[in-house]
Symmetry: C2
Subunit: 414 residues, 2 copies
Amino acid sequence: MKQSQLFNKTIKTAPREEESINAKLLIRAGFIHKEMAGVWSFLPLGLRVIRKIENIIREEMNAIGGQELLMTVLQPKSLWQETGRWSNGMEAIIYKVENGEIGLGPTHEEEVCDIARTLIKSKDDLPLYLYQIQSKFRKEPRAKSGLLRCREFEMKDLYSFHSSQKDFEKYYEVVKKSYFKIFKKFGLNPFLTQASGGEFTKDFTHEFQVLSQSGEDKIIYCPSSHFSQNKEISKVKAGDKCPLCSKILKQGDAIEVGNIFPLKDKFSKKMNLSFFDEKGEKRNVMMGCYGIGVSRIMGTIVEIYHDQNGIIWPKEVAPFSVHLIPIEISNSKVKKTTEKIYQNLQERNIDILYDDRQNKSPGEKFAEADLIGIPFRIVISEKTLKTNCLELKKRGSAKKELIKINDIFKKLNV
Amino acid sequence: MKQSQLFNKTIKTAPREEESINAKLLIRAGFIHKEMAGVWSFLPLGLRVIRKIENIIREEMNAIGGQELLMTVLQPKSLWQETGRWSNGMEAIIYKVENGEIGLGPTHEEEVCDIARTLIKSKDDLPLYLYQIQSKFRKEPRAKSGLLRCREFEMKDLYSFHSSQKDFEKYYEVVKKSYFKIFKKFGLNPFLTQASGGEFTKDFTHEFQVLSQSGEDKIIYCPSSHFSQNKEISKVKAGDKCPLCSKILKQGDAIEVGNIFPLKDKFSKKMNLSFFDEKGEKRNVMMGCYGIGVSRIMGTIVEIYHDQNGIIWPKEVAPFSVHLIPIEISNSKVKKTTEKIYQNLQERNIDILYDDRQNKSPGEKFAEADLIGIPFRIVISEKTLKTNCLELKKRGSAKKELIKINDIFKKLNV
């Protein structure tokens, strides 16, 4: 895409009210627009990142048997009354309209059970894995950390349905593995952290916690990842020995980027979600639910991957892979070579942003490129063309390489 | 995909409360699930159709310079007060939360102007075309016609920003052409219909109206498409001569599947969305907005394309292209051939649904296939294999063709 055509303007200073690194950088670089506390629009550059995050998650959910559906924001009170959570559990966070008769879905256990019970009749209908990628709404008095804690936010929520607790436990391990694969693609290394189940289950659950000073959770963890507990429930503390190895436990602030809840029959029992087993006996379906915060992931990545100049996107989620910047674009040889490379890279399906703007100095272009944070920067100038070269720089690295023009495809692995 | 794995169950009779054809068929075939009046979840089969509709629209919006962004459901009252529509125009349809301080977006003119004014400064920033595909919310007492009139529904909304009315008018024609291209892919032939601008503009607008007995609008139209007006504003009537040709005008019920509004500076003036022209003078941005109801399109297609046995999806939006049905799947030759064809078609990127279920009779399978409405049905049985053939049938046609197995790819154009 040509940068002159992109709906994007960077700004030098973030609004004073923003405290979090992710909000400051994402606003300055033109990825998001604030509607109000905890409510953000995604501008074209930001939506590109969201779509890449979604697609990575979608691919992995499909790979573990997930079937995508799309549930609703508006949910009837009657559904929530079946489980009692309307007035006992979720009442503080559900937005309500129509004189309190309709809620905006803060989560979808009730709705997915209602859908599943229309179809699950016998053991043959199990197991079943349903997921969606959808906007959720929660009252949130502390919406101050950019995309990390929002009132409107995008989530992937997977729900699994099983004929036995044992079958659930097997799938729980499958999802765990899938989650680590997903987070690795995002460049995140979360600690699998034991935590309380809150309004979802009386059992312990697993949170995926990424160490970050901006995190609102505190975890007690083993530096070799043998152990991690949310401080809220932990009986050990920093300085203690890890119960599973000899390492010394540490305490750290962390962001919860995902979670998995063993629900057992908590919801199915109350909502009459059952099946007939081989003996013709009626039994409750066993369930699990598994979340990943899509927009929160975007914020977390920025919290982890940035420097004083801007964002440093991991390549799997970057809005573009290559930022192509000609210097002296008025020089016809520079322009011609740049446009040829632009075309060649596009033909190789490389997401490329071509800074074709004439009214910006090289210094301004470089500063904006650093702020936006595209993984590879290619600079072409009269000087580089003297040796038939272009300059390649990886965002986040100081090293600039002069590369022969014909070698660029090999260098970028395309 | 194997049908045994698909989260889908068809039912023989639609719920009594449903009156519309699209709701009856989409529920019976397992595409949608009703949460409450005018609020529908999309089951895996239904979401496949929605995604195809979205992608056709997205491709065409990008082709006419549109940049996709994603705005929010929650919108602050203050934004709506700038144009006065909070209490004068939209008050009857906006759902409100937080003591009436926040609305659920019924449309996004205010929000998109707020975003655009942070970036539009000079004439160089124009024209600009922004669109999104997103859920909208409107209070709707008459939500009785399936996907045709909903309280929560998906829409594509494009907004264009121009430095002059003339430039807007040029783009208006571009979008008109693009819309006809899009609707053609959906198998719809709308009449471009003059109508009133409602809360959007004092000018006339254009609605894209598809003739259908389920339509809630009435249009006066020329059978040769030279003329069409919404009856609400029309000064002619059925039986009159078309003002533009000699044909006799007709009256018909119609579904509004899209609309385009010339907004001029109605919003930009009130929201201070302006730019500096060449002379350094401040001028209001001229605007247009252009909607297509994504979920309504799905309902409209079913209203138009069905017979007494079920849905007949046009191939561009069908959940799958081919329905592969083996008879006597217990016969090893039938099974082996079927699975080979299944694999071969998948390798050719054909969306294929393979009915591998063992516990259904051929009659049941055929009835379900007709109900679901996939464009091509391939049947393989001992009998067809005797002549090394399979049976091909187009949904909606009575004709069954015996085709040599090796000719199937040519026949399907893959």
